[in-house]
């Protein structure tokens, strides 16, 4: 990670944690503006932060991780894109937010099962619980890698394929992630008081926004089929070579 990106993360992380799900544009936008975050992707020449796509990934992911109540990614994207491009970039943003929120829900779940005792031991000692959480970890890992892959592709130029693939993969991770998170929490996770729903309700929303599974899989599949079977693998590797 570059030094500026580490600094960005060290700035955004505690701020987003502090603002949390309860933040609103009316009361709290100024705190984001003080750090120049809405101008993250605006170039330095134009008075912006001059961030790149990996910087954007860092901020979007942390916004997801802390279930930030303000839609900061939308503010950031609105400054630099409109129309179809905006839709595509928002799909990337939601992918990164899903990745962050899944990691947060996983951390919450692991912490909870290590605390909660039933049958005289921590729930985390039961193999059934362990195996479910392992699947969840795999899905969270896939969503994070997909978000990273899309950010890298944006840095290289055209990222239509990668954004489609990444949003689709992240969408699919929401299913196992939210299901397991709620299952291992039992009834407490179903309350308004406990923080899990701040993450899971957003995850369900983000899965639909800027392209659900059907939207992206159809678009991606159509493109792959149009290129033909013999082009799939060479195309895939040419994207990174």
């Amino acid at each position: 990670m570059s030094d500026t990106r580490r600094m960005l993360a060290e700035m955004a992380d505690p701020l987003f944690a502090d603002l949390g799900p309860g933040a609103s544009e009316d009361c709290d936008l100024s705190r984001l503006e003080e750090l120049g975050l809405p101008l993250l992707l605006v170039s330095e020449d134009e008075g912006g932060f001059g961030g790149d796509w990996l910087d954007a990934l860092t901020v979007f992911r942390l916004a997801g991780y802390h279930a930030l109540g303000i839609d900061l990614p939308a503010l950031i994207v609105a400054r630099v894109a409109e129309g179809e491009r905006r839709h595509e970039l928002m799909a990337f943003a939601r992918t990164a937010q899903i990745a962050g929120a899944l990691d947060a829900a996983l951390a919450l779940s692991v912490g909870y099962v290590n605390e909660r005792q039933q049958f005289d031991r921590a729930l985390g000692k039961f193999q059934a619980v362990q195996q479910s959480l392992a699947s969840f970890a795999c899905e969270a890992a896939a969503a994070n890698c997909a978000a990273m892959g899309a950010a890298q592709a944006l840095g290289r130029g055209s990222a239509q394929f990668e954004i489609a693939a990444a949003k689709l993969r992240a969408n699919r991770a929401v299913e196992i992630g939210t299901t397991v998170a709620h299952q291992v929490h039992g009834a407490i996770g179903f309350t308004q008081e406990y923080a899990l729903h701040q993450l899971t309700r957003r995850l369900w929303q983000w899965r639909s926004e800027y392209g659900n599974d059907a939207f992206w899989s159809r678009r991606l599949g159509k493109a792959v089929i149009a290129r033909g079977a013999d082009s799939f693998w060479p195309d895939l590797t040419a994207r990174t070579d």
Binding site: M1, D103, A104, L106, A107, V110, V113, N114, G124, K125, Q127, V129, Q130, Q131, L133, A134, S135, A137, C138, A140, A141, A142, N144, C145, A146, M148, G149, Q152, F161, E162, A164, A165, A166, L168, R169, R172, D213, A214, W216, S217, R218, R219, L220, G221, K222, V224, I225, G228, A229, D230, F232, W233, P234, L236, T237, A238, T240, D241
Partner: protein, 378 residues
């Protein structure tokens, strides 16, 4: 919590040229039948392996002194993913090139290294893995095949099972109990056993598809010189498990059914069928993601890190993907349709083989147990 730290993979500049080299070799000497291109890393073709050796595509990262080519780990990664995506018959040398050669170079004495490593790099020596026994599957620490000292040397007695490629291999690296009465992970050592040593017997096990890929291997008082001990006596468990990240995260853990996906795309060409588009899109997205994940682990291994948790995650997701492809294809395609003949043949083959994907190299349950430990649950 971030269980899988991803970073940009720095693909080598030589990648396009390497891909072209592999493709040319595969076009000339590879397998044409799509059914035989499925799960191709268990398909042994010694002639093809020798061609790769001649082309400098085996032992790519090893020192020139031992017949290697001193290329980078990621250059090797490019070559193996091309071979697998093309369904090339790489089974004969796969294990030797992936793990036995590196293990010998890391821990082997000079005699072992000179005897085996250059021959592996030429595509002339093949290896098999001797871990599982009749009483020792997932619970590997219960192995009972024994090595006892005899003068300067050793005598091996016992049995291994499910040994892939034992019948085409020149040597086995076996995990055995070298200290009588020792328990579990203690008292285990690794030995390099030439398959033509008197007392070694290989018996085929035919799998449910009718193929002969794995075997039983019996050891009846097999005498070995002192130099057959690999690494340190008593350190066998640590040595054997250290290789697992290499074994678990490679592209072979998600590409075994790639040929079926490609046939699905071919079948969908010109059909304008939204259901097929969705399925193709979903499977393409997964392939793209898994490739990034697997390459990211390779990049970490190349830097000398041991991304053990990431490697197991790649195996679990990759195996599920390889298994999902034939299931999804069967659920969607009308196999009574004459135009689906190839798709049907590949699909039925993979439906039969795919249960093994989440068994070989550690079962799904064992892999998820390791992930759970990585999460701090055990």
């Amino acid at each position: 919590m971030q269980t899988f730290v991803t970073e940009a993979v720095d693909w080598p500049d030589s990648a396009p040229a390497l891909r072209e080299q592999v493709c040319a070799l595969v076009v000339e000497h590879g397998e044409r039948d799509p059914v035989k291109r499925a799960n191709s890393w268990t398909k042994a073709d010694p002639g093809f392996s020798r061609k790769l050796g001649e082309a400098g595509l085996l032992g790519m990262t090893w020192p020139a002194e031992y017949g290697g080519h001193e290329r980078s780990q990621l250059e090797r990664y490019v070559v193996i993913e091309e071979l697998l995506a093309a369904g090339a018959p790489v089974g004969a040398h796969w294990i030797a090139d992936r793990q036995s050669g590196p293990l010998l170079l890391r821990l082997g004495n000079e005699e072992l290294k000179r005897r085996w490593v250059p021959a592996i790099a030429r595509g002339e020596a093949f290896a098999c893995i001797g871990l599982s026994e009749p009483g020792s599957g997932s619970d590997l620490a219960s192995v009972r095949t024994s090595a006892r000292r005899d003068g300067d040397g050793w005598v091996i007695s016992g049995q291994k099972v499910w040994t892939t490629g034992a019948h085409v291999s020149h040597f086995m690296i076996a995990l055995v109990r070298s200290e009588a009465g020792s328990e579990r992970q203690q008292g285990l050592s690794q030995f390099v056993i030439p398959m033509d040593t008197p007392g070694v017997t290989v018996k085929p096990i035919i799998d449910l598809t009718g193929a002969h890929e794995f075997n039983e291997v019996f050891f009846e008082d097999v005498r070995l010189p002192a130099s057959a001990l690999l690494g340190t006596e008593g350190e066998g468990w640590k040595q054997a498990t250290a290789e697992l990240s290499l074994e678990r995260s490679g592209p072979e853990r998600y590409l075994s059914s790639m040929v079926l996906f490609l046939e699905l795309v071919r079948h969908a060409e010109g059909k304008d069928d939204p259901a097929l588009m969705e399925m193709v899109g979903r499977l393409a997205a997964e392939a793209w993601t898994l490739r990034l994940m697997s390459a990211s682990v390779a990049a970490k291994l190349a830097r000398g890190e041991d991304p053990a948790l990431e490697a197991t995650i790649v195996k679990d997701l990759g195996n599920s993907y390889e298994q999902a492809i034939p299931q999804l294809v069967q659920s969607a395609i009308d196999f009574d349709d004459a135009d689906a003949e190839i798709l049907r043949a590949v699909c039925f083959y993979l439906l039969q083989v795919s249960p093994s994907f989440s068994l070989r190299g550690g079962t799904r349950e064992i892999i998820r147990g390791i992930i759970a430990r990585g999460l701090g649950l055990r």
